[in-house]
């Protein structure tokens, strides 16, 4: 891995993997300005593939598909990132198209994209799991941009104007911090020259400060969603916990692995699935954004099992707070976590994505190594401590089920 800084201050991280047929590149734009209406960034994100000053939307789609160049943008809570993946011989073409998209998108298809987005959201909301997750995030991040879920977007979208999206685009292009990563089988100087050729006029604002506030959850919240023909209840319970920047990040990761994220051997899986037969899917997860993070537990179960499942969650959460974990279980969870990280960073694109994610967060592209050291240092006491410190009121509980089963929740 090697890092250089382009003349315009954009940091570029390279990693060379010999004998790989495809290059992968990521280009991060940090979101520093919270969106005032839900959907502003989502619409902008969609418009990035809908035409530039040089290429119409159709021409763009055609050129990418004809060369089998995978190029798209993703909008997350704290950033918009472009991903580019193509056969080695097509890389310059890919970079040229990407630079065109980044610098010259016209946003002309605004009206159409608004309509398409609304339609896609409606289709998605017919999936019970998506509806339950929507209700969960919207409420655990109430009145905060992180809570701008699909249904919140539907509330705001008709008031969004093209002019507002243009301003967001302009701000992102000119006043945000940027990071590039490239992974594949190449010579650094060659790629460096390409990046200089196509991106030297993109301004990087390294001292921009995020104006996204820290979200606050003040009291417990119960969100009930009725769906009368649902065969399964969807249950999500979550807590706001420290982020990747906190000293307890690794400890929470290990706790999450142990409780419900190691695969077939986690506590929730063994107790609620294997022993009680309550579910096919039961798990916990830990997701961190810049200003907040969530630890949550999830189960999908026959509606009459709602109470038993919630009790099952409580028993397991109480247990990890009160009964010390064994050295053996701790070590297994650490090994699981560390070993699996190899699996999730096997392809060039996964690697490019991870190193630029860390670089963008200011943690350094080599944060992965530090993280593994941090994970190795977690003790059994740390697990008990973080469980007690962070899995406590307030929480948000979301239950989707037929109405008759919701009354007693």
């Amino acid at each position: 891995m090697n890092k250089i800084i382009l003349d315009n201050n954009i940091p570029v991280v390279f990693k060379i993997n010999k004998n790989t047929p495809r290059y992968a590149m990521c280009f991060y734009f940090k979101i520093e300005e919270p969106e005032k209406k839900a959907g502003l960034y989502s619409i902008l994100n969609r418009l990035f593939l809908q035409g530039t000053k040089k290429r119409s939307a159709q021409a763009l789609a055609q050129e990418l598909d004809e060369n089998a160049i995978d190029c798209y943008s993703e909008m997350k809570q704290d950033f918009i990132r472009f991903k580019l993946q193509c056969l080695n011989e097509d890389f310059e073409k890919g970079v040229e198209i990407l630079s065109d998209i980044i610098k010259n998108s016209t946003l002309e298809e605004f009206d159409k994209e608004v309509i398409k987005l609304k339609g896609e959201i409606q289709a998605e909301m017919d999936e019970p799991k998506s509806r339950a997750l929507d209700g969960f995030y919207k409420n655990i991040y109430k009145n905060h941009p992180y809570g701008h879920t699909y249904t919140k977007i539907l509330e705001d979208i008709d008031s969004i104007t093209k002019d507002e999206v243009e301003k967001v685009y302009d701000n992102l292009l000119n006043n945000s911090a940027k990071v590039i990563s490239v992974v594949g089988d190449f010579s650094e100087s060659e790629v460096e020259n390409l990046l200089k050729k196509y991106f030297s006029d993109v301004k990087n604002t390294t001292d921009a400060v995020s104006k996204i506030p820290v979200p606050e959850l003040k009291e417990n919240d119960l969100v009930k969603i009725a769906k009368d023909d649902a065969s399964q209840a969807q249950i999500i319970q979550g807590w706001q916990v420290p982020t990747i920047y906190h000293k307890d990040y690794a400890a929470i990761m290990v706790m999450n692995t142990m409780l419900g994220s190691s695969g077939l051997s986690s506590r929730l899986f063994l107790e609620l699935r294997d022993k009680k037969g309550l579910a096919y899917v039961v798990r916990s997860s830990y997701e961190t954004y810049d200003k907040a993070a969530i630890f949550s537990v999830y189960i999908a179960t026959e509606p009459k099992n709602i109470k038993t499942s919630l009790e099952g969650f409580k028993i397991e959460l109480d247990k990890i707070k009160t009964v010390p974990v064994t050295e053996e279980e701790l070590q297994s969870a650490k090994n699981n976590l560390i070993g699996k990280r190899q699996f999730f960073t096997e392809t060039n694109l996964q690697q490019a994505s991870l190193i630029s994610f860390y670089e963008d967060k200011g943690l350094g592209a080599d944060f992965e190594e530090k993280l593994i050291q941090m994970i190795n240092k977690v003790t059994t006491d740390d697990i008990t401590r973080v469980a007690n410190e962070y899995i406590k009121d307030p929480f948000v509980l979301t239950v989707l089920a037929p109405q008759q089963y919701l009354n007693d929740v």
Partner: protein, 448 residues
């Protein structure tokens, strides 16, 4: 060492040939080289819903769950716990033609994890106990007094999960109605009633019948010493003279000769539709390439016809989603067009899809579209050679569904030689409207 027949296959995008070993008992071992610290070990069994009937539908998948419930050497949980504590991903999957079990993990110090994974994987494949208390007692559906809920209930929850997914619902209906006799018509997961009542003995019988040496291919992908690993796999996979089983052949179904239409209702807000056609058998390379290309041209990506014509250029938007899919199966693949649309625009939606299909049948595919699809399939092959698990899955597909890896060796050349005329003829051979089955799912209108 036993007498083993070895062959080599030049597999595109891998740096070394793939080695296929056939043992005297018929068990096949495939070794593939991929740089990096991870290894994947998997065993593919030539059974799935293809070997089921109305009475035992779902047994292949239920057995797959129960294979994780311990052996005579190791109790339930040992396999998962031991391997996951070494950073492994362990799981399995069941489909129409096959069931496969895999472990992906770091090799560990001096390959220790790798070695242990082969031992545990072989033990699980050859010596499952399937204990009664892990299956849980048989019960009548809807009986609330059941207290000991075990794996039967887990699988029933998996069925429930699928019942709540609109796409799965209409896929199953279309799939069922595309066939007359062939076992492919059944949903792999089966019905809650069967899972609630099927006996341990029936499951064990099914295991003994189908998990035979000639029905199993074990695949190892990673960076390792081939001689050592071959010996290890052969030592661990001791079938102890287990008898072989010859898979039955099934008569291929003819497609419906008059378009079939099914309409379902649900508590949803948008409309869903899937139209399906029967496709070529897996070993028919050309026709499979043809339908794969047609799927790309019609409905993959933003430049595809359906997306451009029905979403991008639509003046009055009707569709939210429209795409295609093509699945390869041993006895004949399936081609699908899937759509989500405004619930009150069903007629328009179906007629728009029909007119797009008509255009394809009138041979109007351009050279540009043709070349785009070729390139896409080439890149997809390269993509499938990027991770140890993807490589294993592709090899597993060829070995079980296509019966051999020879088709992979020539795939890129076959693709290169494929002509636009052949593409047009594939479209006309398989995708005629009268041979299609459509299921639509629409919102239920509440009657108050």
């Amino acid at each position: 060492m036993e007498n083993i027949i070895k062959r080599e296959i030049k597999y595109p995008y891998l740096t070394r040939p793939v080695e296929i070993y056939e043992r005297q008992n018929g068990h096949k071992v495939v070794l593939a080289h991929k740089e990096g610290g991870l290894v994947n070990i998997s065993s593919w069994v030539k059974t799935g819903s293809i070997n089921e009937n109305d009475k035992n539908n779902g047994i292949s998948h239920f057995l797959e769950h129960l294979m994780f419930k311990g052996t005579h050497k190791h109790k339930a949980g040992y396999f998962d716990r031991t391997l996951e504590s070494k950073g492994a991903i362990v799981n399995a999957a069941t489909w129409k033609d096959y069931t496969f079990y895999y472990v992906t993990l770091p090799q560990g110090p001096d390959g220790a994890y790798f070695k242990e994974a082969i031992e545990l994987h072989a033990d699980m494949m050859l010596d499952p106990v399937i204990p009664e208390d892990e299956i849980g007692p048989a019960f009548t559906l809807g009986d609330d007094s059941v207290s000991q809920k075990r794996e039967r209930h887990v699988v029933i929850e998996e069925i429930r999960m699928r019942q709540d997914q609109p796409w799965t619902k209409i896929y199953n209906s279309t799939n069922y109605n595309m066939y007359t006799k062939h076992p492919y018509k059944r949903d792999v997961i089966g019905f809650p009633e069967t899972i609630a009542s099927i006996s341990r003995e029936t499951i064990l019988d099914y295991y003994r019948t189908h998990y035979t040496p000639n029905n199993i291919t074990t695949i190892v992908v990673g960076d390792f010493n081939h001689e050592e690993v071959l010996k290890k796999v052969c030592d661990e996979f001791d079938f102890k003279g287990r008898e072989n089983y010859q898979n039955p052949q099934f008569e291929l179904d003819k497609p419906v000769h008059e378009a079939k239409y099914i309409e379902l209702k649900g508590k949803i807000n948008t409309g869903f539709a899937i139209t399906g056609w029967l496709g070529p058998v897996a070993r028919d390379v050309k026709d499979n390439i043809g339908l794969e290309m047609l799927a790309v041209i019609l409905g993959e990506g933003q430049s595809s016809r359906l997306y451009q014509n029905l979403i991008e250029k639509a003046k009055d938007p009707i569709f939210n989603v429209v795409a295609t899919d093509f699945y390869n199966f041993r006895d004949g693949g399936n081609f699908f067009v899937q759509a989500n649309f405004k619930a009150d625009k069903k007629e328009e939606a179906l007629s728009l899809i029909k007119s797009e299909m008509d255009k394809i049948l009138n041979n109007d595919i351009t050279q540009q579209e043709f070349l785009k699809a070729k390139k896409k399939l080439k890149v997809r092959f390269a993509e499938g050679a990027e991770t140890v698990s993807d490589i294993a899955e592709n090899i597993g597909y060829y070995m079980t569904v296509c019966n051999d890896l020879d088709l992979a060796e020539n795939y890129l050349q076959d693709l290169e030689n494929f002509t636009l005329e052949e593409l047009n003829s594939a479209a006309n051979k398989y995708l005629k409207l009268e041979n299609s089955v459509t299921t639509v799912l629409l919102p239920e209108i509440d009657k108050e």
